[in-house]
C-alpha cells in the first residue's frame, strides 16, 4: 500500500515538478498514470522507491516513510522497470544480469537459482542464458528488464513506457504478463502514452498535467470527461469513441474488441 500525502517536489533550480499531490494506491490495483511529457509522471514514480524524496509532504510505502528508508529497502518492494534497457544492462551474461538484483537483495544462492530459472523460462530467455545482454534485440532487451525486476518478486511493479517501440505481438505478451501479475495479487502501476494499451487493461487512471493530478478514477469515467482529455493532451481510446457514436450504445463502454463484437452482433440481429 502506497500513500502519497500532499507531496510537492522542487528541483534544485527551483522549478516545481510536483505540486501538492495526494494519492493512495491500494494493493492489487492496476493503475495507469497518463499525461503529456513533462507533466511529472516520472518524478512521481521515482518517489515510490525513494529515488526522489519529497521536498514537502510524505510518501509512505508499506508503512515505511521513504525519507527514512534506503532506496534498496524500498526497491525490494517496489520494482521499477525503466524505459530504456540500455541504461541498465551491464553484465556478461543474461543469467548474471537477472541474478544481480537478487544478489543485491541478499537472497540465498538456492533461492537465486530457482528464481533465475523461473525468470528465464517465463520470459523465453533460456536459450540466451549465457549470451551477452547486448546481443539481444530491442524487444528481447525490454523483456529481460522485466524479467530482472520480476525475479525478486516485488509487491508493486512500476512500468515506465513499456510499449514504446514494441510491435503488436510484444504488446500482447506484455498485456498477458500484467494480467498474470494482477491475478497473483500484485499492484501494477503503468506510465504510458499508449491510450489503446492503457484502455485494454481497464485500470484506474490518474491524469497528470503540469505537476498536478487533474483526474483520478476508472478509465471509462476519466476518458469520458472532455475537459480532462483536453487539459492533459490525451486522446480518447477508440472503443470509448465507438460506444459514443453508436445508435444503440452499450450501458458501459466496451473494454475490449470481443465485448464490442458480442454487443454489436446482437444489436444488429435484434
Amino acid at each position: 500500500m502506497i500513500k502519497i500525502e500532499s507531496v510537492t517536489f522542487k528541483h534544485q533550480n527551483g522549478t516545481v515538478a510536483l505540486q501538492n499531490v495526494s494519492l493512495e494506491i491500494r494493493t492489487g490495483e492496476a493503475t495507469a498514470i497518463v499525461g503529456e511529457n513533462g507533466a511529472g509522471k516520472t518524478t512521481l514514480v521515482k518517489h515510490l522507491n525513494g529515488l526522489i524524496k519529497p521536498t514537502e509532504g510524505k510518501v509512505t510505502v508499506f508503512d515505511l516513510d521513504t525519507k527514512q528508508t534506503t532506496v534498496a529497502q524500498l526497491a525490494r518492494k517496489v520494482g521499477v522497470v525503466f524505459q530504456n534497457p540500455d541504461h541498465q544492462l551491464f553484465s556478461e551474461t543474461v543469467s548474471d544480469e537477472i541474478a544481480f538484483g537478487l544478489r543485491n537483495f541478499g537472497f540465498p544462492e538456492s533461492v537465486i537459482k530457482k528464481r533465475l530459472e523461473w525468470a528465464l523460462e517465463f520470459f523465453g530467455l533460456t536459450e540466451y542464458r549465457d549470451s551477452s545482454p547486448m546481443m539481444l534485440s530491442g524487444g528481447e532487451k525490454k523483456r529481460l528488464c522485466l524479467a530482472i525486476v520480476l525475479a525478486w518478486d516485488p509487491e508493486v511493479i512500476v512500468l515506465d513506457e513499456p510499449t514504446v517501440g514494441q510491435d503488436l505481438v510484444q504488446k500482447e505478451k506484455l498485456r498477458e504478463v500484467i494480467k498474470m501479475l494482477l491475478l497473483r495479487g500484485k499492484t501494477v502501476i503503468l506510465v504510458s502514452h499508449d491510450m489503446e494499451f492503457v484502455w485494454s487493461l481497464q485500470p484506474r487512471v490518474i491524469v497528470m498535467a503540469k505537476g498536478r493530478v487533474v483526474a483520478d478514477g476508472a478509465a471509462a469515467e476519466v476518458f469520458s470527461r472532455p475537459e480532462v482529455v483536453g487539459e492533459a493532451n490525451l486522446m480518447k481510446p477508440q472503443l470509448l469513441e465507438l460506444s459514443v457514436h453508436l445508435k444503440n450504445p452499450p450501458q458501459k463502454p466496451f473494454a475490449d474488441i470481443y465485448e464490442a463484437r458480442q454487443w454489436l452482433v446482437s444489436s444488429v440481429s435484434r
Binding site: 541504461h87 538484483g101 525486476v149
Partner: protein, 258 residues
C-alpha cells in the same frame, strides 16, 4: 553514502562548471566581437605574467573583476575564482615550503587567480557558437571544430544519462557505498558499462545523422553568420592595446626604478 556522494560529485561538477558555462545575456562586453574579447583575455594574461609585485598583480585582478561587473557576470566569476583560491593557497604554501620569499609566493598566488579569472571572463561571455566561429577564423580543421561543438553540446546529455543510469541501478538494489574499498570500486561497473554503451550508441546515431545532413560534402563549408568587427570593436581594441602598452611601460620601466 557513496551513491549519494557520487550524485553530489556530479552536482558539484555542474556547479563549478557553471562558472565556465556561457549563459545568454546582454552587456557591453557580450555585444563585442568575440575576437575583441579574446584580445582582452590575451592582454590580461600578458599583464598578469609581467606584473611582479603584490600591488601590480592586485591591479590586474581588479581590472578582471571590473570587467566582470561591466559584463554582469561578477557573481559567477567570483564563484569560479573562489574555487581557484584553493589552488592559489596551495601554490603559496608550496612556494614558501621550498624556501621562496613570502612576497614572491604571494605574487605567484594572485597571478594564478588573475590568469584563471581573465580566461574565464572570456569563456563566460562567449557562446559556444561564437567560440566555434573564432576557431574557424583561426582556420582550425573542420573536424576538430565539429568535435569541439559536439563535445560541448553533449556534456549535459551525458550527465542526464549518468543520472538515469544511477537511478536504474539503485532501483535494482545497488548500494554504491556498501562493502570494502575494492567492492566500492566494483560498484561503479554497473554504472560505467551502461554509460559507455549509451555513449557509443549515441555516437553511432550522431554519425548517421551527420552523414544524412551532408557533413563533409565540401572542403570549405559556408556559414549562416560571420564574425564582423564593428567600429566599437576596433575602438575598444585599440584603447585596450594602448592601455596595455602604458601598463607594460609602467610595470617594466617605471616601477622597477621607483
Amino acid at each position: 553514502m557513496v551513491g549519494q556522494q557520487c550524485f553530489e560529485v556530479v552536482a558539484g561538477m555542474q556547479w563549478v562548471s557553471s562558472g565556465f558555462i556561457f549563459r545568454h545575456m546582454e552587456s557591453p562586453v557580450h555585444s563585442l566581437d568575440p575576437r575583441t574579447r579574446l584580445l582582452f583575455a590575451v592582454e590580461l594574461f600578458v599583464l598578469a605574467l609581467v606584473a611582479d609585485s603584490p600591488l601590480e598583480v592586485s591591479i590586474v585582478s581588479i581590472v578582471v573583476v571590473s570587467l566582470a561587473i561591466v559584463a554582469k557576470i561578477a557573481k559567477r566569476l567570483v564563484r569560479t575564482m573562489s574555487f581557484t583560491a584553493g589552488f592559489a593557497v596551495m601554490i603559496l604554501v608550496i612556494n614558501m615550503l621550498v624556501g621562496q620569499p613570502l612576497v614572491y609566493s604571494i605574487v605567484l598566488a594572485i597571478r594564478f587567480i588573475a590568469i584563471v579569472g581573465g580566461t574565464s571572463l572570456f569563456f563566460l561571455t562567449t557562446s559556444p557558437d561564437e567560440l566555434e566561429y573564432v576557431m574557424k577564423w583561426f582556420r582550425l580543421p573542420q573536424d576538430m571544430v565539429f568535435a569541439f561543438v559536439t563535445a560541448v553540446r553533449f556534456v549535459p546529455v551525458l550527465m542526464l544519462d549518468a543520472t538515469q543510469i544511477m537511478d536504474a541501478q539503485k532501483s535494482r538494489g545497488l548500494e554504491m557505498q556498501k562493502g570494502n574499498f575494492i567492492k566500492r570500486i566494483r560498484n561503479f561497473i554497473p554504472v560505467l558499462v551502461p554509460l559507455v554503451v549509451t555513449a557509443v550508441i549515441r555516437s553511432g546515431e550522431l554519425a548517421e545523422a551527420m552523414e544524412s545532413r551532408a557533413y563533409g560534402a565540401v572542403k570549405k563549408p559556408s556559414s549562416l553568420y560571420a564574425l564582423r568587427m564593428r567600429k566599437r570593436d576596433w575602438a575598444t581594441g585599440a584603447i585596450s592595446v594602448m592601455l596595455l602598452v602604458v601598463s607594460l611601460y609602467y610595470f617594466l620601466v617605471i616601477a622597477p626604478i621607483g
